[in-house]
Subunit: 330 residues, 2 copies
């Protein structure tokens, strides 16, 4: 508790543990606010809190996730991520060594993306008032003047492309919790896709919309978009890529892979004429090698609708789950 009180021990925690890991000139100014020089134009601004349980899982940890998640949110709006914040809510008694591991993981992920963690905050709560560590990251990025990526741009005929197979994050968290060791076969897809998205943007492809498929998976992400864009999206069942281990895990545990969370998978809406070029651009990147078309925007629809069509032509519509498949997934 003493580490959260604004006194010498908190100063020491910041100076000895946090500052050396995130080390950069803006953070080191030790201002309450970071002072940034921004290129002119539109700014993207986003935030997410991360309460994932467990903190460490196959393919990542809460730190990597807190950076990737916010970078991905910025990328989905067509922005180039520039700066992040890091606010920690630490439960009394949490191991400093684990904290260091997690902060180092944040820094490594940020560095690889070319962004800096420029300001932050540290709070400590009593035992039983938290769960080890919660992290909030906020991020800013710049959007080039010519870029307009939004649900409102989605049009009939748009192809729906995803960059990778579905449901890995949700299932790997679930297996971790159940103590089932699938580690060799299954890892979370937790990754920063902002570099991949930048590659698409650099090609000036006419992207209408992008959406990361996190909490609630592909189904929830697309249903929400369809509700906003007022269209029917028709997905082809046999094109939906699901890893064999995810399929098995879903069967064992009674989950649906289309609703299982992803942390490095997104959907891209683009006119048919540009879809082949988008696929080939995606496939040149390690995070886009499985890129494929999974469906199409087929008609306008007042309330929004997402259906999955089997090879026999039978359509079933996807519905939002009432509550959650999995709590504390991110």
């Amino acid at each position: 508790m003493a580490h959260g009180g604004g006194g010498r021990m908190m100063q020491k925690l910041i100076d000895d543990v946090i500052q050396p890991i995130f080390n950069n000139p803006i953070l080191n100014q030790k201002h309450d606010s970071a002072i940034l020089s921004m290129p002119s134009g539109k700014l993207a601004f986003t935030t997410d809190s991360y309460v994932v349980n467990p903190l460490f899982f196959a393919g990542g940890d809460i730190g990597k996730m807190a950076v990737c998640g916010t970078l991905n949110d910025l990328a989905m709006s067509g922005a180039k991520p520039l700066y992040l914040t890091c606010a920690l809510i630490i439960e009394e008694g949490f191991s400093i060594k684990d904290l260091q591991t997690i902060l180092a993981s944040m820094q490594a992920t940020a560095e690889q993306a070319g962004v800096s963690i420029v300001t932050g905050d540290t709070k400590v709560v009593e035992k039983g008032k938290g769960d080890g560590l919660y992290i909030n990251t906020a991020g800013v990025g710049c959007i080039a003047e010519n870029i307009q990526v939004h649900a409102q741009n989605i049009e009939i005929g748009d192809q729906i492309i995803i960059n990778s197979d579905l449901g890995r994050h949700g299932m790997s968290i679930m297996l971790e919790r159940e103590g089932i060791d699938f580690k060799n076969q299954l890892q979370s897809d937790c990754a920063d896709v902002s570099g991949l998205v930048q590659q698409l943007l650099d090609k000036n492809l006419p992207i209408h919309c992008m959406r990361d498929l996190t909490r609630g998976g592909l189904a929830s992400g697309l249903i929400e978009l369809a509700t906003n864009s007022k269209h029917k999206y028709t997905l082809q069942e046999q094109t939906l890529p699901v890893h064999e281990t995810v399929k098995t895990a879903c069967e064992i545990l009674g989950f649906d892979a289309l609703y299982s969370a992803n942390e490095g998978c997104f959907a891209l809406f683009i006119p048919k004429s540009a879809s082949a070029e988008a696929i080939s651009c995606l496939q040149q990147h390690p995070l886009g090698q499985q890129a494929c078309i999974i469906g199409e925007v087929t008609e306008t629809h007042d309330k929004g609708l997402v259906t999955v069509e089997t090879p026999l032509g039978i359509q079933r519509s996807l519905e939002l789950f009432s509550g959650e498949q999995l709590p504390r997934i991110c």
Copy 2:
């Protein structure tokens, strides 16, 4: 828990509870990132998580505090606050009515400051893994090109001014926790000082540095600054304004008002030649009526030092507390 799962119930919570309160065109776009048009120039970027206990206290609540705190952090760097985020970590079972009250309090405070809450995030954690509600706010603001407010600008001879009396937030939280009813005499000073700061900036006063005196109070704030600027600050004991009720509360509870948190009080460093004008400008604003000079930057000092001088000329130096006077104060 179902409200945090990314399904229909979470959508309903956002659409029915959160969106209507914060209601503004940028938020209503329902993007993962808010898209903002920023004036050119320097950007200030800051974040804080709020874990204050209790959530409601005399003079404010966690919502008002989460907005004021981040506005004040931006103001302290000489920025005009523009946009905020709001990320909620809700403990399972927390009352929707209390949530609405708190969000309405955030919105009212933001509106009064002329800023919008443009994006957010909602997480739900199991009972016993939180404490009702934790809020993170991040904020961005713009800094006019001619403004340079920083500890490095502090010079010998600078006058140290504060805008109000000391220690009210810490003591009102403490009395609330102890169940002592001082409500009629003592309220937290929780307030947004960004308007007051803007008034100073508009006058082109040569402000060298500003610092809000939150966790750890006046003493901790000034010690941290002195360490950065490598000066000795000498404060005059008889000029330090402390409300009678705060004095009494400190005596009863064994606290030192100079270390008690403030949420609407800041220190301002300014050359002697401009100090009278600064005081008169501050006093024209409701939050600056008690503005006064409390001391001066007297010499350079390698490690930084803050001393309090009694009317008899005896100096005692202030030290950072090791841990905390009060946990969960903000």
